[in-house]
């Protein structure tokens, strides 16, 4: 038919495209080789600059060429005057702009732009900022641009309030952008810092501890602004409760106190002539300047972590020189100094006592709440109310449920235990892909609650049976426990951290799925291990028990290993101290 546009056949097109590609490749390879040989010869001329420009405009991710280009530019800096250099770099910036149009996420282009901007004799930061704005308006999650923008802001000293307004704008146009929220979280403490006299958050500072160090609160924001932020972020998660960026920002707002760094417990045992020290966070005792003073005399001791797997651990032990404290009629005073942090803890071992310890009786806030919040109870309470309101509308929203759980824990972990467990159950159903994560998190909270109950009861028995535990944590808090009951849970292992239970005498862990006993390692007082109905299948799995010198009673009934050939005689050889073996 007439008048119709003629279109080439597909085969014809393919052939032409192939030829075209071949031609391009030939040119490209030739130019690349020319560049490489020039570089090898140390030539830094305009021709090289042009060659690299041609290559980079078709492939802006050729890092070697950018490097070569920088060498050339640095050379030119030495031979040209400032105005010329300025011109060269300005041309470089417009060249880079065209590269970024080809690939707005090119590492090479953005890096080079940062380099050029930093070397430009008379930088035009306003132009750079507007470039970033244009780029972010096309893709507000381009992290290369965000990175570059942060550099520009830093170099040009954009006022913090302007930057905060910038995040307002970005969040307003699309709040599903964690980059903006995060940027906000870095700006707010600068613009609205918490007043130096904190209006006493709900936790009463322990009388003995020093006032919070400045860095503990450096990321906090004054209350007036915080309330505004709560409102903003609530608007976001009520509008779209499935968007995680708002929820993460909310978690940040609710606060995350840093626990005070301290020696939380010193334990000394006369029989083993051993000292165990627990810290508020994992440390490497060999490098933090730990000093042990016994009756006024500094001691030379070897600190070791409870398990060879740990370089950092919250619990460290050392053996005292033989004969220093073994006379039961003597009283001893022990001090452990954490010189790096200017803190120490004393412990007195009285006459007639086989062991002694010193620790603060921990409250729930000190132990666990710090993970969520240092906010006022009233603030948390009203936040819990509004999130509950959302939950009524969206009963199956996982972010909402999880936030409720966290708020409840911050408010009253024991009081809300029942609700928490119910919410966890819903969470596992609505978000089955992460049910193992929720199980672990729930285990953690159950352990925390059990520790709190144990603290209140002032006993050394830790019993947490039949709670669907899938993991163990906070084991450093169980340094003094003598009797642990983990029966009827879903544990698969006693991890290396389990070795922190330095005072353990009885371990009950019947009816779990334990396959691995790695953590039952060098427990000096352990006498009884009850592992009925678990999944221990080989003798090698029992190997760690051999390091526990006082082990007498071992129950392995209902484990695959009980069925192996010659198990009894092999066990007798492996664990000579065991006198009471149940298979």
């Amino acid at each position: 038919m007439h008048g119709r546009v003629k279109i080439k056949s597909t085969a014809q097109q393919e052939e032409e495209k192939r030829k075209e590609r071949e031609k391009k490749l030939k040119i490209y390879v030739a130019a690349r080789d020319a560049c490489f040989s020039k570089r090898n010869e140390g030539v830094w001329d305009d021709e090289a600059l042009q060659l690299t420009q041609q290559l980079l405009s078709s492939n802006p991710d050729f890092a070697t060429l950018w490097n070569y280009r920088r060498e050339i530019l640095m050379h030119l800096e030495t031979v040209k005057d400032e105005d010329e250099v300025q011109k060269i770099y300005e041309a470089e910036l417009s060249f880079l702009e065209s590269c970024l149009k080809v690939n707005p996420k090119s590492y090479g282009s953005w890096h080079h732009r940062g380099w050029v901007s930093a070397r430009l004799p008379r930088p035009d930061w306003a132009r750079e900022l507007s470039l970033c704005d244009r780029c972010l308006s096309l893709d507000d999650r381009n992290f290369h641009c965000w990175d570059y923008r942060r550099m520009v802001v830093k170099m040009s000293g954009v006022p913090v309030d302007q930057e905060l307004a910038f995040t307002d704008r970005l969040i307003g146009s699309n709040f599903s952008n964690y980059s903006s929220w995060h940027y906000r979280s870095t700006l707010l403490p600068l613009l609205h810092p918490e007043s130096p006299e904190p209006p006493s958050p709900c936790r009463e500072p322990p009388q003995t501890s020093p006032p919070p160090s400045p860095q503990t609160h450096s990321h906090r924001v004054c209350e007036e602004q915080l309330l505004k932020e709560y409102e903003l972020v609530q608007n976001a998660f009520f509008t779209d409760p499935n968007d995680q960026s708002a929820w993460f920002y909310y978690r940040w707002l609710l606060g995350r106190a840093e626990r005070e760094e301290m020696i939380s417990c010193v334990y000394v045992s006369r029989d083993e002539e051993r000292v165990a020290v627990a810290f508020s966070r994992p440390v490497n005792a060999q490098s933090v300047g730990l000093l042990l003073v016994l009756d006024g005399q500094p001691q030379r001791v070897e600190w070791r972590s409870v398990h060879p797997r740990f370089k950092h651990s919250p619990v460290w032990i050392c053996d005292l020189p033989p004969g220093t404290i073994n006379d039961i009629s003597n009283e001893h005073n022990l001090t452990v100094h954490w010189t790096e942090k200017h803190t120490h803890r004393d412990c007195a071992l009285y006459t007639g006592r086989a062991e002694s310890w010193c620790r603060d009786s921990a409250t729930d806030q000190e132990l666990f709440r710090s993970e969520l919040s240092v906010e006022k109870t009233s603030v948390l309470q009203s936040e819990l109310q509004s999130v509950n309101q959302l939950q009524e509308l969206e009963p199956l929203n996982k972010w909402c449920l999880l936030t409720i759980i966290l708020l409840m824990r911050a408010l009253d972990p024991l009081g809300y235990e029942k609700e928490t467990l119910a919410h966890f159950q819903t969470l596992k159903e609505v978000d089955s892909m992460r049910s193992a994560y929720y199980s672990d998190l729930c285990s953690k909270f159950m352990i925390e609650n059990t520790i709190l109950k144990m603290e209140y009861a002032e006993v050394r028995v830790f019993s947490i049976s039949d709670k669907n535990l899938t993991t163990l944590c906070h084991l450093d808090q169980l340094l003094l426990v003598t009797h642990i009951n983990l029966s009827s849970n879903q544990l698969q292992q006693l991890p290396p951290q389990f070795a922190m239970l330095q005072c353990l005498e009885v371990l009950e862990a019947d009816n779990n799925s334990i396959e691995n006993l790695e953590g039952v390692y060098h427990l000096p007082k352990l006498e009884e291990v009850l592992l009925k109905n678990n999944k221990i299948s080989t003798l090698a799995d029992l190997q760690p028990l051999a390091s526990c010198p006082k082990l007498k009673r071992l129950d392995l009934r209902g484990n695959p290993v009980a069925q192996t050939l010659n198990v009894e005689s092999e066990l007798a050889e492996l664990l000579p101290s065991v006198t009471d073996l149940l298979l």
Binding site: H2, G3, R4, V5, G172, F238
Partner: protein, 567 residues
């Protein structure tokens, strides 16, 4: 192209340059048909036209003048074997009625103005009709029953209130916003003479339409590559009139997030409702036939939300059935976010651009607000208002162009002036010191073109009828009509197939291009040019009658005229 080069044979003849006609013309020429596209008017696009202010005055004049019935010329001597003669209706004035013009701004003594005869004219006549210097003239309507099916149109240019207090100096704020912002200081009122003098800078559409960003028109413009001939901008915001205030309608996710009128719980409910609308559910079907409003009530949505959803998002009335309301809501939602925070696009230079895009390739920060005004009293129509800022190139700086459209109940003046009085400062309005004042306004009724179905006419099988603009906000009716006509003419062909990649066009061949006069390089443009060739050939085989027929049945029209349902 010189006259002697004009082709003398055509495959398709198209009379009239309205939207549907232009789309058919473009579609036919794109697949290689020889098309003769003619219009008896001196301007493009018939009732889809866009005028300068002066052009609009001429148009008004034409409609006000009683055109003497043309003597039907006898063409029968030119008839050849097997041909028959069909007479076109003599004038299209029938589609426009109840034309009234009001001028509220000072005339200034510029006696020599070319348009001067028009202005005094209006003043005189108005003094008889009402009290102010406005004019009222009702053109004769051919069929008296057509009145009720008409679309009321009103175009008002107004200047902003000179001293609004407590304004937010927000530069991008359309002045109809709740805050009644006006960043510029006291300004001299623009005179009528000035409007006339700068009249060429106006582009006033006869019909007020917005393009749904996923509507059939936008899809067609993109598919057929016509979009490059015009520039489109996203409508800035959607507002609604409620409790005497203009409020922003939160319709996108970002709007809902930023809204200060909604509580967080309302935000959640609104978002959840909008999300749940997208897919049809059994619950939705259970409401078929029952009012959408009832469905909204049962969703436990607050009054606020019901208002937004009913009037602004579905653009429905209280009696609209649920299935229709949901369909409109879905269409609205599908269009959201394609190009911005509202579902609508507006072509820079006005809607009159669109038909022209399909014909000749013409060389070719915007603020548009749409306001939905629910019926202000029982029995009154719901009014749709589109405010265009000077950045749309439709009016001069210092003015805004506002279109108000509704389904007719009475005459355009009766239906629309109460809304104008409430929203703007006119001599009739009271306590509206902070409202923008009206400079000049025009009321008229236009017949709803969606009623003219080809079946209504006793026409030969190769003659098809396009209708004029319909009352809907989008263009779907005209595009659907164009597509269906095209498929009747050329059942084997694709409707507006995508333009080929320029790289893939063969330029060296010379076979099969007998009708293209220009070089091969212009192959694509040629297709466009053919559509505009104006020759005095008579329609032979395939003719298309351009008709501005009045709708036949009232009921049918009313249904058709409601917002376009999803295709």
């Amino acid at each position: 192209m010189a006259a002697e080069d004009l082709p003398s044979e055509f495959d398709v003849v198209i009379l009239g340059t309205g939207l549907a006609e232009s789309v058919v013309a473009a579609a036919c020429s794109r697949v290689g048909q020889r098309v003769l596209h003619v219009d008896r008017r001196s301007y493009y696009a018939a009732n889809w036209a866009s005028f300068t202010f002066n052009g609009l005055l001429t148009w008004i004049q034409q409609h006000q003048e009683e055109s003497p019935p043309e003597e039907a010329q006898d063409w029968s001597s030119l008839l050849e074997e097997g041909e028959e003669l069909i007479y076109l209706s003599s004038s299209d004035s029938a589609s426009i009625s109840n034309l009234q013009v009001f001028c509220y701004t000072s005339e200034e003594d510029e006696e020599e103005e070319a348009q001067r005869p028009d202005a005094p004219n209006t003043t005189e006549e108005e003094s008889e009709a009402a009290d102010e210097d406005a004019v009222k003239e009702t053109s004769e309507t051919e069929s008296s029953d057509s009145k009720d099916e008409e679309t009321n149109q009103e175009a008002a240019e107004e200047q902003q209130a000179t001293q609004a207090e407590g304004e937010e100096p927000e530069a991008d704020q359309p002045h109809l916003s709740p805050a009644a912002s006006q960043s510029e200081p006291t300004r001299k009122k623009i005179s009528y003479a000035q409007l006339v003098k700068e009249g060429r800078r106006f582009n006033i559409d006869l019909v007020s339409k917005l393009m749904y960003s996923r509507g059939s028109l936008v899809d067609l413009l993109i598919k057929s590559n016509v979009s490059r001939y015009a520039e489109f901008k996203n409508v800035t915001r959607i507002l609604t009139y409620r409790h005497g205030n203009v409020e922003q309608v939160p319709c996108s996710r970002a709007d809902v997030f930023a809204s200060r009128q909604l509580s967080v719980v309302e935000k959640r409910k609104l978002m959840r409702f909008l999300t749940s609308c997208v897919e049809e559910t059994e619950e939705h079907q259970a409401y078929n036939g029952r009012p959408y409003l009832e469905f909204l009530c049962d969703q436990q949505l607050s009054d606020n939300l019901q208002h937004f959803l009913l009037h602004s998002i579905a653009m429905a009335t209280e009696d609209t059935p649920t299935e229709e309301g949901l369909a409109s809501t879905r269409h609205f939602l599908r269009c959201l976010g394609r190009y911005g925070n509202t579902p609508f696009l507006f072509p820079v230079y006005g809607l009159g651009e669109i038909p022209q895009c399909f014909s000749p390739p013409l060389p070719v920060s915007l603020q548009v607000s749409m306001v939905t005004v629910p019926p202000i009293a029982a029995g009154r129509p719901a009014v749709r208002m589109v405010e265009l800022s000077p950045s749309t190139m439709t009016c001069i700086p210092g003015t805004y162009l506002v279109h108000l459209t509704c389904q007719s109940v009475g005459s355009a003046y009766e239906d629309l002036s109460p809304v104008v009085t409430r929203m703007f400062r006119t001599p009739e309005s009271h306590d509206r010191e902070n409202c923008p004042s009206v400079l000049w306004c025009l009321y008229f009724n236009m017949a709803d073109g969606s009623g003219a179905e080809p079946e209504d006419h006793d026409l030969p099988s190769n003659v098809f009828v396009c209708s004029g603009p319909d009352a809907g906000l989008g263009h779907d009716h005209a595009i659907r009509q164009a597509e269906s006509i095209f498929q009747k003419i050329l059942p084997e062909e694709d409707f507006c197939p995508p333009a080929p990649n320029p790289e893939d066009i063969i330029y060296d061949g010379d076979n099969g291009s007998s009708s293209t006069a220009g070089g091969e390089e212009e192959a694509q443009e040629e297709a466009q040019e053919e559509a505009q060739e104006e020759a005095q050939e008579e329609a032979r085989e395939e003719a298309q009658e351009e008709a501005r027929e009045e709708p036949q049945e009232e009921k049918e029209v009313l249904e058709e005229a409601s917002p376009p349902a999803e295709e």
